[in-house]
């Protein structure tokens, strides 16, 4: 398997990381996601776009079973990660979420120090053997999130004291520190100013070298800038999925075109 992946990477053909087929999601009586099938490639940025309430965030939360924390939410259909069904009763959502990390819409650093925020994941998953390994993971993660230079002298200060953009990058560092295989981002820039947004977008572009990134976004420009694949959701349906360039220049479905040209939103 590993060898095969190496070969595929060189030819710029990405293996499918996540495959969803026939997924339906219900909130109580509300049918939020209707029969969605999609595959997400490794080492690729996939963007979910669509008007508000179209179900893109809900679908994203299915991918690491975050919907489990909502009692009235019910998911049917099949979602696999590396060909293993993530809704299999034998799967522990805790283990799944270690592999499929998530960054949220609003920066939500824990009320702890910057260091402890990043070290939280490695600690609970036992990724570091000793303190120096943990230090190393923290530093690497912060570097990867392009935050190291700004915070390296104040790792002991609370994470809540950072600016909005820094907080969001701290959350990304926190997610990266767990060494996930997939990173889900739920509108990661919606609470940020344009400069911070640019920094995060740059970061996403770099992250795709190691991870499969799925990003939900409201901004079509952002989707166009950072993603290779785009999925367009509308009223709980997956309307169209394909290469980002194609979706934005030559959509097949009229609804996609209406959305992109600003007629539905």
């Amino acid at each position: 398997m590993n060898d095969m992946r190496l070969i595929q990477r060189t030819v710029d053909m990405h293996e499918t990381k996540i495959r969803a087929s026939g997924v339906d999601v219900f909130y109580g009586d509300n049918h939020a996601i209707k029969d969605v099938s999609v595959y997400i490639e490794d080492k690729t940025v996939t963007a979910f776009i669509g008007p508000s309430g179209c179900g893109k965030s809900t679908f994203l939360r299915c991918l690491n079973r975050m919907n489990d924390t909502i009692p009235i939410c019910r998911v049917t259909g099949k979602i696999t990660l590396d060909d293993e069904d993530i809704y299999d009763p034998k799967v522990d959502p805790v283990q799944l979420r270690a592999k499929v990390g998530m960054v949220f819409q609003k920066p939500n650093p824990f009320p702890k120090s910057i260091y402890d925020n990043v070290a939280y994941g490695p600690r609970i998953h036992g990724l570091a053997g000793d303190k120096s390994e943990l230090d190393e993971i923290v530093e690497k993660s912060l570097r990867r999130a392009a935050l190291w230079g700004e915070v390296k002298d104040r790792l002991a200060e609370p994470g809540t004291g950072l600016s909005g953009g820094q907080q969001q990058r701290l959350c990304i560092a926190r997610a990266v520190a767990t060494a996930p295989e997939v990173l889900l981002m739920d509108e990661p820039c919606s609470a940020l100013d344009p400069i911070a947004t640019a920094q995060v977008e740059e970061l996403i572009d770099e992250l795709k070298q190691n991870y499969s990134v799925v990003i939900v976004t409201h901004s079509m420009q952002q989707a166009a800038r950072v993603s290779q694949k785009t999925a367009f959701f509308h009223l709980g349906n997956l309307v169209e999925y394909g290469e980002t360039g194609k979706i934005f220049t030559n959509p097949e479905d009229s609804r996609t075109e209406s959305y992109i040209t600003g007629r539905i939103g």
Partner: protein, 489 residues
Amino acid sequence: MTLTWLVLAVLALAAVGYVMGRSRAMASAGGEIRALHSLPRYYGWNVALTVLTPAFGLMALWLLIQPVFIDARISSQLPDAAVSETTTRSLVMSDVRRVAEGLGQIGASKPESDPDEEYLSDLKSRLGGAGVALASDIDPAVYLAAERYRAGTAIGASLMWVAVLAVAVGGFAVSYLLTNKDFRARNTVERGILLVLIAAASIAILTTLGIILSMLFETRHFFADHPWQDFFLGTVWSPDFRGDSQLAILPLLWGTLYISLIALLVAVPIGLFAAIYLSEYATPRVRALAKPAIEVLAGIPTIVYGLFALITIGPMLRDYFAQPLGLGDSSSSVMTAGLVMGIMLIPFVSSLSDDIINAVPQSLRDGSYGLGATQSETIRQVIIPAALPGIVGAILLAASRAIGETMIVVLGAGAAAAQFDRGIGELVNPFEAMTTVTVKIVSQLTGDTDFASPETLVAFALGLTLFVITLGLNVLALWIVRRYREQYE
């Protein structure tokens, strides 16, 4: 009864004022309501309130000041000879007041000549018949003072009638004359009502002032008789009504804190885990059943817990723990009181913690779950640290409750003060009976009390200390909780 009549007279005047004020306003507008500035009833209310407020205010003030004034005057006229060595002036004055009151009850008229022995002893038995029991024979000086007291009170009462009625009529006249169609009656009435509202809100301040002043006043008396060093720094509590008491707060404080500690050791883990379970794990159905059940514990009066300690927990602990372990054979003990108080505090800790845990934003939970943390890891490492200040505040409030709790310790903890000279073993033995500050306040202030002796007055010093400690804890706790809430708003 005369007071009732005065109240009724003022009320009647106010009622007349309402009707007359209303009709005068109507008349000034020529019966045309639209010409009036305010609705007619406001003109009526204006007159009525101007009659009532100053009159009742004066009456209240008068009733408050008159006894003090008369007391001071009679007391200063009382010859020194009337105050024998065994009593104090204030005790004699209380006799004077009681005799005066008794004279009023039996309706005795003043005799023509100065009263002789025979008249006084007859008077004593007559007073006894009216329910005014006097310890000794009536001293002639006391009798004379009592007569003067009665006369002074009577004059005071008549003067009050005159003054109150004059103010009422004056208010009536002024407001009636002011009434015409352009008078802004509604604004005036509303300003009056606002003043009433402000007065009602100020009662909270007055209560606190009353608490502090009354206790300070009596505590000062106590410290005049008893050195403060002995009270705060002494180590022995042994009151003796024959005098020569040792009244130190430390032994009582030790009992109070020890019992509170046990109570918190019971209540905090149970309350906190119950709150965590209910807010993070419980299904809506379990929550709907368990939460009210725990809150029932909060609605149970403390006397019920006290009885529970006395008749159930105390004997149980004695029979199954203290005696087999050889730790004592008293059913009232630190453990009994602490355990039951702990049960009482469970809902207190759990409902406060529940609120506080629920105030932790969902985004923090999501963040932690998103990293693959289990629910308990999220709770222990994210939610509890985030909620910590609030939980500390809740625990402080619970501690303040425990320290001020009375009935459970009165019935469950025992009456013997901790004895520091008996060694540490007895001090920390939780099955030893031990008394607290509140128990001693109750025991020193119930039964026959003599407000001149330090043994009684010490209760006020204890009360003041208790008030200061709990106030400190409350202020600190409320401040912490408020800051905590602001953090997440």
